[in-house]
Amino acid sequence: MSATILVPDDLWDGDGEGSVSNWFYRDGETVQQGDTVAEVMSEKVTFELTAPVTGRLAIAVPLHGTVHKGDRIGEVG
């Protein structure tokens, strides 16, 4: 079963944009549920995003790509 890695709607205050500051795994690698798979940064504050399930990682937003709250940055399945 696949699951989406989302930037939570309440991750930071306001409607400012962020960027993907780290991917800890490469596209196609296997990740375990709960692993920190990416970091997203907004206003120089970094937030961790974890794998919702165990499976193969598909990266949708590349390193340094721009994101907004609610965006899908990848898929695990």
Partner: protein
Amino acid sequence: MSTAESLPAEAAAGRRLTIAKAMSEAIAQEMERDPAVLVMGEDIGRLGGVFGTTTGLLDRFGPERVRDTPISETAFIGAAVGLAAAGMRPVVELMFVDFFGVCMDAIYNLAAKQAYFSGGQVACPLVLMTSVGGGYGDAGQHSQCLYATFGHLPGLKVVTPSNAYDAKGMMTAAIRDPNPVIFMFHKALQGMGWLGTVPGSIAAVPREAYTVDLGRAAVVREGRDVTLVGLGATTHHGLDAAAELEGEGISAEVIDLRSIAPLDRETVIASVAKTGRLVVADDDYRSCGVAAEVIASVCEDGRAKLAAPPRRVTFPDVPVPFSPALEHPLLPSAAKMAAAARALVGEREPA
């Protein structure tokens, strides 16, 4: 510690960390293990370190052991040397190595000589962690490496990790070491979003405490035709250059020095004895530098028979410019290392 195990590319499984998180975790585990371990520096408390080296420590261990200091390296690094003499194990952060000037007397006249001057009766278990490196337009007072400035002085161990696995193990070893260790971390590898991150610096890191021996280089890629030596960020340039050269039929061995003092001359000599060619990258200034010391060590030893004169890929002897248009072309790169390697291979077999 086996060298191949520290290779990020081979760390296929397990939890991955940035160097910043690996350093924070090592310090936290040593604070847990030994009540004598404490942390001091500018913005290392509430902020968790400008480069993320002390994340979470204040909440976990409190302000007595995790102390934000005024902007006076002279005062707090001097204090740390005294604390170390009195039996504590201070970890202090010099935010940018560029500002060593105001605290150098405490470092090289007091800390580095304490064990010698006391006939071994008073140790100095101090860790000074400090950021090095440029490439992000922060100009001449926030971009230097100064590996050789510290590596030149007897009584100091000077190390720099290229990946998170080594960073945790080397920090743990540094804290447990009875003598002063200068722990340099490269800004480009730290995993802080605002500085960019070299992906190869992120590695699988065991949750439990472990040590990586200080003073040991690692062969991070094996090869036959040429040895590419780097440290910190230039290790990754070497790996990228080796990947590029492979496509041209040149097999490059890559060595991560990991330690400037002591310098693991044996590992480099053994490699060059096999390949006959040597390129050393160093993002510190060129003259009297680590690259020069590595090349001199290989030549002086004589066991490695050289097929071509060794080459250095370094920052030139000028202050680091602010303008990216000026700074970037001066930095070592994978392309420069690959070009140097090609030239060396070509010297034996001229076209």
